[in-house]
């Protein structure tokens, strides 16, 4: 208690320092006056009386020091002093401080933004669900490593057979057509098990969630839970929304509750708006047999470990359960095992792909931050050298080594702190800017990233680390200073510092690595934009339809597509129309299939694969892909022709060695097809990709319940076709919305979006880094030159030309720079070959970046060197 009280009083005293100082002075004065009086009474002369009194009192300054030590908190006081000092010295170098703060802020800000993404995916993968990272994916797994999903019956078995997991939750993603006939709107939702909301630990924002009995048997209460956003936008957030009827897939459902704000379902970053019990599946999906048929694997399962259980136990139980099922239901479950996966490692979401990409990005950005630190250290070191004299005076006056070090440290930490503050602003801006990605494919996407205390702690940590890194060199440098040395020698002859040069080299090396990375990235992005896709994207309108709500069979799917095409082709503005299952340059890529083809011996099982797109006749005409040989597919209603396939030129080259393809048989798991044509190669997955083998199959042979309508316009204005296409579909089926309508150009732009983010990042950061490196080099060289004015003056006086002096200075510094650059170049090259692999070793980048970097470096050396060569030798020498 006593010590606590003392602490607070001291704290207070530290604040009220001046008043106390005054009080002490008065007390001492009084004391000495009293003693002097006493001495006078004892008969001393006034002067002697006062002298004796002072002697008796003792050393005033030493006592004051004691008194102060007693009074306040030395540490805090020193710290405040240091901070004040730091503030003063920073305000004396506004330009330098601004460069340091801004570069730090960008470095830390970018890192924090990336970290917030990684953190979101690893630790908070489901917004509004606490502890969501602990959920595990419960995934049936085929022998070939595919994850087909789980059937409803399987789910019911697994709930009891994997006791290590509590409350396994099942969900199925379904597109819903919401609204009255003729004006339906496509909305995404999930069909979920009855325990969905309770297992996730959610509380409704309004109303209630499913009761167990509502999700027990099929065909029970038609209930619906809506998302918070849906509630806000469609019902204006009115409490009356609960109890209202909504028509979903031509069924009336009653809204019973609203999910909590921010909750977007269990397949982040997909954003769902509606949830209905899984038992509603037959009613909503046109009498599907989802609930009984074990071979319909439509559900995705997640579960959390029971307290005390390990994921190994869960894995063992799961494998055992799947083995039992494979034995009991061989026709549906034979050869299907199971795997427990971490939530972020889900085979369905983009998490897995994004995390590895983000990890690389984070690595590069941390390197960048390191380069910023190196730069700052260099600047501070150069400045520190200028301050040698100041520091020497401090040491001579009795400041300890630690005191000097802490002085430098506090100055740098203050800079780091200011940088971190600005970085937080950048991070907040960055995460919100990246938060809302547009719809990808037809799915609404929302990345629930945010800057929270965890992210901010990361930023603080980075800031502190940076502060320490770039203070270390100057602090050590100055603390080792010998005051005599520092005072005697003038600033012009300070000893050389190797540290500065090494740092300069390291910085240039780092800049090289990051700039090459940036260059490669931009180059691939740019070339991607300019490559000829080998199909004609202009003038094509894309739109999607989906019959899954109708639970159609093959015949009705084929008939629907045929009728749709007939109607579309009859439109006056439509030059050609076709339907395909996949659109090229899609973010998801086009699936590939393994096959065997007549006349080609399979080298290895499953190794022969080709891109596979199922299309209707007329597709090649719409896409502007000429058929090199053979004919287009037979008409949709043609029942006579055998199953057909068209392959591309690359297919013929790779698998048939260029031999005649037409007439050969092609066997895939979907059936046996006869090759009737060869199409020219075109781009399938990404611009600039190496030629890929492709197989086109016909909708006639393999009808699908959904399709991408491709319309080529006659007038050149493809968007004008939108309303006509909508009307056609509405005519055919009033409950079916046309969705994801976009021009082909928009489609391409949209799918380049995700690539554009890092491209933009690099486009900003590359020049920034180059600028930083230039400033760093400039600082080092100009300092080195300033240090040697006398030497230069002497040499000029002895007849050296300015040119020679400049050349020599540049040569000296360029040596270190070249070393750094060379090492950086090698590192970048190794990384690009090892990590990025094929086709990434772009010669223009690997030659261009060093050229630019060395050019800028030379310029940064040249400017201060030229200044030095203009010295008037007489002035310098006199100055000494």
């Amino acid at each position: 208690m006593k010590s606590l009280r003392r602490f607070f009083t001291r704290l207070f005293n530290t604040a009220a320092k001046r008043a106390r100082e005054e009080r002490l002075r008065e007390e001492i004065e009084e004391h000495i006056a009293l003693q002097t009086d006493e001495n006078l009474r004892a008969g001393l002369s006034p002067v002697e009386a006062r002298r004796q009194a002072m002697l008796k009192f003792g050393g005033v300054e030493a006592m004051k020091e004691d008194y102060r030590a007693e009074r306040g908190l030395l540490l805090i006081e020193n710290l405040m002093g240091d901070l004040r000092n730091a503030m003063r010295s920073i305000s004396r170098m506004p330009g330098l401080a601004a460069v340091i703060i801004v570069s730090l802020a960008i470095g830390i800000g970018v890192n924090t933004t990336i970290f917030s993404w990684i953190q979101m995916m690893l630790f908070e993968p489901m917004p509004a669900v606490s502890g969501a990272a602990n959920f595990l994916m419960v995934e049936p797994r085929t022998e070939t490593g595919g994850y087909p999903g789980a059937s409803w019956q399987e789910y019911r078995d697994l709930r009891t057979q994997v006791p290590a997991l509590r409350d396994i939750v099942a969900s199925q993603m379904v597109p819903f057509n919401v609204g009255e006939r003729g004006q339906t709107e496509r909305t995404h939702g999930q069909l979920v098990s009855g325990n969905y909301f309770s297992a996730l630990g959610l509380k409704p924002a309004m109303g209630r969630f499913f009761r167990p009995e509502e999700a027990e048997r099929s065909g029970t209460e038609p209930v619906l839970v809506i998302s918070y956003d849906y509630w806000q936008t469609r019902f204006g957030g009115a409490p009356e929304a609960v109890g209202q009827k909504v028509r979903v897939n031509d069924r009336e459902l009653i809204v019973i509750g609203v999910a909590p704000r921010d909750f977007q379902g269990t397949m982040v970053p997909l954003k769902f708006e509606l949830w209905a019990p899984a038992t509603m599946a037959p009613a909503l999906l046109g009498g599907t047999r989802d609930l009984e048929d074990r071979s319909i694997r439509a559900f995705s399962l997640i579960g959390m470990l029971k307290a005390g259980a390990t994921s190994e136990e869960a894995q063992a139980e799961f494998s055992r359960a799947m083995a039992t099922m494979a034995r009991d239901y061989p026709e549906a479950s034979a050869g299907i095992g199971g795997e427990i996966l971490a939530f972020w490692n889900s085979p369905r979401g983009p998490q897995r792909m994004l995390i590895s990409g983000l990890a690389v990005l984070q690595g590069v950005m941390l390197l960048l931050l390191l380069a910023v630190c190196g730069n700052t250290a260099n600047l501070m070191l150069a400045r520190g050298s200028v301050r040698r004299r100041e520091m020497a005076v401090r040491v001579a006056l009795g400041a300890g080594r630690w005191r000097i070090a802490s002085l430098v440290l506090s100055e740098n930490m203050l800079l780091a702190l200011l940088g971190t503050g600005l970085a937080a602003v950048i991070a907040v801006w960055g995460t919100t800017a990246l938060r809302v990605a547009p719809m990808i494919g037809a799915f609404p996407i929302l990345f629930p990233t945010k800057v929270d205390e965890f992210t901010l702690a990361f930023a603080m940590l980075l800031g502190a680390a940076c502060g320490l890194i770039f203070s270390a060199a100057p602090a050590v440098h100055l603390a080792r200073l010998d005051p005599q040395e520092g005072l005697r020698s003038s600033s012009n002859t300070a000893p050389r510092s190797r540290a500065r040069k090494v740092l300069m080299g390291v910085e240039v090396g780092l800049a090289m690595v990051v700039l090459i990375a940036a260059g490669l990235f931009l180059e691939s992005f740019r070339s991607a934009r300019q490559t000829d896709p080998r199909f004609r994207a202009e003038g094509v309108l894309l739109a999607a339809y989906d019959l899954s709500g109708r639970n159609p069979d093959e015949a009705s799917e084929r008939e629907f597509a045929a009728r749709l095409l007939e109607r579309l082709r009859s439109l006056p503005d439509v030059e050609a129309a076709a339907i395909a299952t996949n659109v090229p340059v899609d973010l998801h890529g086009i699936p590939s299939r393994s096959f065997t083809v007549q006349g080609h011996v399979r080298t290895e099982a499953g190794k022969d694969r080709a891109i596979c797109n199922t299309v209707t006749p007329g597709y090649f005409q719409v896409m502007g892909i000429p058929l090199v040989e053979g004919n287009d597919f037979a008409e949709m209603r043609d029942k006579a022709a055998p199953a057909q396939a068209i392959v591309n030129v690359e297919f013929v080259r790779r698998y048939l060695n260029g031999a005649e393809a037409i007439g050969r048989r092609l066997q895939t798991r979907g059936g046996s097809f006869s090759i009737i044509g060869v199409a020219r190669n075109s781009v399938y997955d990404a611009f600039g990709e190496p030629a890929q083998a492709a197989v086109y199959l016909s909708y006639r042979d393999l009808p699908v319940f959904q399709g991408e309508i491709h319309l080529r316009t006659r007038s050149g204005n493809e968007t004008a076709l939108t309303s006509e296409a909508r009307a056609v579909l509405r005519d055919l089926d009033p409950m079916l919305p046309l969705y994801d309508v976009r021009t082909f150009s928009q489609h391409i732009e949209r799918n380049l979006y995700l690539r554009r983010i890092p491209a933009r990042m690099f486009a900003v950061l590359g020049p920034l880094l180059l600028g930083l490196a230039a400033i760093g080099i400039y600082a080092v060289v100009s300092y080195a030159v300033a240090r040697r004015t006398r030497e230069i003056g002497v040499r000029l006086a002895f007849g050296a030309t300015g040119r020679r002096v400049v050349l020599q200075i540049i040569r000296e510094n360029l040596g270190v720079i070249t070393w750094g650059a060379a090492i950086g170049w090698v590192v970048a090259f190794v990384i690009s070959v090892r990590v990025i692999a094929k086709g990434a070793t772009n010669l223009s980048v690997f030659l261009g970046v060093p050229a630019i970097l060395l050019g800028v470096a030379t310029l940064a050396c040249w400017i201060p060197a030229r200044k030095a060569s203009r010295i008037d030798p007489m002035t310098t020498l006199r100055h000494e």
Binding site: R6, L34, Y67
Partner: protein, 115 residues
């Protein structure tokens, strides 16, 4: 060095408290004089060292101070014992007596007492 002042401060603090206990409110000079008189000038400390001790005691709450007028009508800071200070004095007096007794006994002890 430090340790020595600590010991000194400890005893000095006790002396200050006792002085204030006996004489009532007093200014710094008065306390210093008093201690000098009682110790018979044996304690030749610099009077200045008194002030850090006074400050420490004040921060601990053992003494309180306020401005007043000294004998020669000058402004002087008067220190007085607080209730807490009195308690502290009692406790420390007891401690000190105990310590003194133990030390005394040690000095009185002869070789045969210890065997």
């Amino acid at each position: 060095m430090k340790q020595k002042t600590d010991v000194l401060q400890g005893t000095l603090a006790l002396m200050v408290l006792k002085t204030l206990d006996v004489l009532g409110p007093l200014h710094g000079y008065g306390i210093a004089r008093r201690i000098e008189q009682i110790s018979g000038d044996l304690l030749a400390v610099n009077q200045g060292t008194l002030y850090p001790v006074l400050l420490k005691l004040e921060q601990e709450g053992a003494v309180a101070s306020e401005w007043g007028a000294s004998e020669n009508n000058r402004r002087a800071r008067f220190y007085r014992l607080t209730r807490e200070g009195r308690k502290q004095l009692q406790a420390e007096t007891k401690d000190w007596e105990q310590t003194a007794a133990i030390i005394a006994r040690f000095f009185e002890a002869k070789a045969e007492d210890l065997s």
